[in-house]
């Protein structure tokens, strides 16, 4: 039982860390801003979500009952990540940042 819990927690931690690393590689390597917005906005919340699920399983099997206050962090992140990505994209559209040729511009710029 203990080994099974450890394997599940390890898979969650490694998956979360891998998602966070992939999102940051996307932030560092993609060619223009609108592509760079895509990577961390999804992968980082998924990464934190995976690590928090691993942490919840780890602390819930310590014997002190169910441990749910980590969920609060990830619920807050899931609510706020689209809002911050949206408002950063609006700021970038307002500043009319340069794009690579394959990125399509929106028709009605606000």
């Amino acid at each position: 039982m203990e080994l099974f819990v450890e394997i599940v927690v390890s898979i969650c931690l490694l998956g979360g860390a891998a998602f966070a690393l992939v999102g940051s590689i996307g932030l560092a390597r993609l060619p223009d801003f609108y592509m760079r917005l895509h990577g961390p906005a999804k992968a980082s919340t998924l990464g934190v979500g995976g690590m928090v699920i691993g942490s919840t399983i780890f602390f819930s099997t310590r014997g002190n009952g169910l441990s749910l206050h980590e969920i609060l962090v990830v619920v807050f992140l899931f609510i706020t990540a689209p809002i911050s990505a949206h408002i950063v994209a609006k700021a970038a559209l307002h500043l009319q940042l340069p794009t690579v040729a394959r990125t399509r511009r929106p028709e009605n710029k606000s």
Binding site: I7, L14, F33, T80, S84, I87
Partner: protein, 89 residues
């Protein structure tokens, strides 16, 4: 098994933070730097959760929640300043 996995995850999150720092330093425009800071605080939350498992202490989640709240407010305020030239209109 966790003794092996936790240092690997520490290494991956630290590499992610270094990549964010590189984007924050070279970022050609201001929204790039805001986005790099946003990703840095999310990775810092992941690092704090991982450190909470490593130390087996439950006090790190309050710090993670504070970083989440303050990082979100900072991102929104910086973008609002770029968008409108003012924060509270």
């Amino acid at each position: 098994m966790l003794n092996v996995v936790i240092p690997i995850a520490f290494f991956m999150i630290s590499a992610a933070l270094l990549l964010n720092l590189w984007r924050l330093l070279i970022g050609p425009s201001l929204p790039d730097r805001i986005l790099a800071l946003d990703t840095m605080y999310i990775n810092a939350i992941a690092l704090l959760v991982l450190y909470g498992i490593y130390q087996q202490g439950e006090f790190y989640f309050e710090a993670a929640l504070l970083i989440a709240v303050m990082g979100f407010v900072g991102t929104v305020v910086l973008s609002k300043y770029l968008l409108r030239g003012d924060i509270i209109e």
